[in-house]
Amino acid sequence: MTATITRGLTGVGAALAIAALLVLSSGKNPLVAYEALAQGAFGSPDRIAVALNKVAPYLLTALGVALCFRARVINIGGEGQIALGGLGAAWVALTIPAAPPVVLVVLSALAGAVAGAMWAGLAALIRLTRGVHEVLVTLLLNFVGVLLVAEALHGDLGEPGAGFPQSPLLERGAWLPKLVKGTDLHVGIVIAIVAVFVVHRVLWHTPFGFRLRVRGASEKAAAYAGIDMHRSFMGVMLISGALAGLAGAIDVLGVHYRLIEGFSSGFGFTAVSIALIGGLSPLGVLPAALFFGFLETGALAMQRAVGVPSPLVSVIQGLTMVFVLAAIALGGARRRV
């Protein structure tokens, strides 16, 4: 455990140090840049709220990815599943706007989870019946999922005369409740953190989680253990799709209050990075998601204040990933699964 924490912190430190050199080489003072970054991330309750709102969908999606990767199911379809989740949530919210507020928001969020699960389930079905590898299927379904959202927004779900592919504003009753009055912070982060502990519990304390770990460790041992490879594949894909779908719903119901074309852009792959940096463990994914969320939130402020281009943040994320993964590879020859 302490080794894991040290590894993570070392990775982050090394990445920040190298990025500092890059800032320096572009003629800016890295200390000033990092201060702006920190200000942008933690400077005010509002900034923190923005960051935590970003963390919630990352966390949910990365949890699903971690679970899949553990079971050696390479689901990289987070983006499409998020897109469908947002679509499902917006569709329900727009279809039954008159429903009582609590019912409306709960149903919309659930619809998001169901839609995400169905999208992942479709990928699983193609994998299991047609034998196309899940990397390919989930990747390609990302494009289809994003296009489905666009299609809906250009059609029935679009706001007439908006000039931009987006849905009308959702009924207030469908908005996620705020966690802290006067800020934008919504309950998504709480849902995501609860999900962390639920997934942790499932992975380490249920026969289902045990089967996932066995199947990820050795296919032969899984067959010998009597694990139904198809069922567990479908199971983990559905769970992971539901988590991603919920993430999409939370983003729509909590941040935008409407469905917007491209709202899910980049989320899926960020979630994969977070899952990997988190060592594919639910508890490890939590700090990794926080890191990514706050870093990205601070980045824009840094760009505004110092003129350091915000893509530098992608560099820091990439370097962190390289360092942490290298440390895991070096220290983890006898890692427990």
Binding site: R213, A217, Y224, R334
Partner: protein, 497 residues
């Protein structure tokens, strides 16, 4: 040639090597013996630089080896062949030899290397095709690839960690002359084995470890299996359990006209029929590769039967899932322990739960019952003499023999109606082998049916009521225990009777 002095190595609370002194003279084959977990592999890993010793010195050919890596060890002239091979199955023999070898050049000189492999192979009678894909080779041939690798890298001391435990007798018979030839050239060999007869036939002297320390060393001349075994265990092995007379009861396992393909889609089992009764041990002898592995897989539910049927206690399980077979009373000790029988990155406790995580005591309500699992693990560790820190130890940290004991503890501990055991004593020391045989006989006395697959004739003779011999994917003969003699069985195994 090699001097190791005061080697100390602990893993947590386990002291694997506690001040070991050994010296290996040039031109000798030295047997390294010891019970499972006595520290043989650890000592050799220290020598090869795979594991850093806590204390002690190593001198090889007059030069000290300190803080060395396997790479340094190879450069110094030490070759090591591990219990589990370190080859890339998808690559050819030549590619495997070139892997990580500086003499192969920055630009790989494929043909030159292939040429040298062919030469070495002829010189030592290794019979290797440099262009063959390693994954398609038999275990014996893969081992010879490892030997070629070591020789081409200029090994003057070759360490073989249990080289014969996965080999069939004919493969062993072709390995031993190779090692003798190395000795004749002035090279030395460290030979780790639990098969005492082999050690007596091959080695010049033996070093015996017990509990991480040297328990004795002696020349082989004058030693017998009994004296060696006593040195290893520190006391005399008790006599084997007396076989109680049982009257075989109902037919528990009925296999009829079974056919199956191997992984490559070639038919390896051509219609095998037999039955095993309650209170009876039916042993299948035969050289590895004559269909036993496929037969065991099909009965265990790991391979589809192409034709024929299997029933357990009257229940037709020909196409049943593994779980249903388990419920029908089947216990299965698979021949492949590393990736089928165990998940080495999980704990001992989890591995005991491997096949029944859905049932008590491993499960309570919707949850895994970790406390009960751990308690069971502690109990089994004690009952089966597994050398481990506790139920939470990762299986990967156990010695080879102790890993095998974990499988046995899980499968035998279930008190099954039918035991399917494939090479169950592979890698076990003589004491543990005796323990397994005693356990099998105890199951038999309780009325279980046992199908015992082994390439070790001696073991087969010790446990079996009836002995069947497989050759070329067929059951070529069945003899009862009283009529069996080694010569006839040997002829049958060679397909000559």
């Amino acid at each position: 040639m090699l001097e190791m002095r005061g080697i100390e190595k602990s893993f947590g609370a386990v002291r694997a090597n506690r001040g070991i002194d050994v010296s290996i003279p040039a031109g000798r084959i030295v047997g390294l013996l010891g019970e499972n977990g006595s520290g043989k592999t650890t000592l050799m890993n220290v020598l090869f630089g795979m594991v850093r010793a806590d204390a002690g010195t190593i001198t090889f050919d007059g030069r000290p080896l300190v803080h060395h890596t396997p790479h340094d060890a190879i450069a110094a002239g030490i070759g090591m062949i591990h219990q589990h091979f370190m080859l890339v199955p998808a690559m050819t023999v030549a590619e495997n030899v070139m892997l990580g070898w500086e003499d192969a050049g920055a630009w790989l000189r494929h043909d030159a290397v292939a040429q040298r492999i062919a030469e070495t192979s002829t010189a030592y009678g290794l019979d290797l095709d440099p262009h063959a894909v390693v994954g398609a080779l038999s275990l014996g041939a893969q081992q010879r690839v490892e030997i070629v690798k070591a020789l081409l890298r200029g090994a003057r001391l070759l360490v073989l960690d249990e080289p014969t435990s996965n080999l069939s007798p004919p493969e062993v018979a072709r390995l031993l002359p190779v090692l003798r030839k190395l000795r004749a050239e002035g090279r030395s060999v460290v030979f780790i084995s639990h098969k005492l007869q082999e050690v007596l036939d091959l080695c010049d002297e033996v070093i015996v470890l017990r509990d991480g320390a040297v328990a004795g060393a002696c020349p082989v001349a004058g030693a017998t299996r009994e004296t060696l075994a006593t040195m290893m265990v520190g006391r005399e092995l008790p006599p084997p359990l007396a076989r109680v007379e049982t009257t075989p009861g109902r037919e528990v396992l009925i296999v009829s006209d079974l056919r199956a393909l191997d992984d490559a889609g070639v038919e390896r089992l051509h219609g095998v029929s037999f039955s095993v009764r309650a209170g009876e041990v039916f042993a299948l002898a035969g050289v590895d590769g004559n269909g036993q592995a496929e037969l065991a897989d099909v009965i265990g539910g790991l391979r589809e039967a192409m034709h024929g049927s299997i029933s357990i206690d009257g229940d037709d399980v020909t196409h049943a899932t593994v779980t249903r077979r388990l419920r029908a009373g089947l216990a299965h000790v698979p021949a492949d322990r590393a990736t089928t029988g165990l998940v080495s990155a999980m704990t001992i406790a989890e591995n005991l739960a491997l096949r029944e995580s859905d049932a008590p005591p491993f499960r309570r309500g919707p949850w895994l019952d970790l406390a009960a699992t751990r308690a069971l693990a502690d109990e089994r560790i004690a009952a089966y003499g597994v050398r481990a820190e506790g139920g939470d130890a990762l299986v990967a940290t156990l010695s080879g023999g102790n890993q095998q004991k974990v499988i046995l503890a899980r499968e035998l501990g279930r008190r099954p109606a039918l035991l399917l055991a494939a090479q169950p004593t592979r890698g076990l020391d003589p004491g543990a082998t005796r323990f397994v045989i005693d356990q099998v006989l105890a199951l038999r006395a309780e009325g279980a049916a046992v199908l015992y697959i082994s390439t070790e004739l001696e073991e087969v003779m010790a446990v079996a009521d009836r002995i069947g011999v497989m050759f070329g994917g067929r059951l070529v003969g069945v003899v009862s225990r009283d009529d069996a003699d080694l010569t006839t069985l040997g002829l049958m195994m060679a397909g000559a009777a």
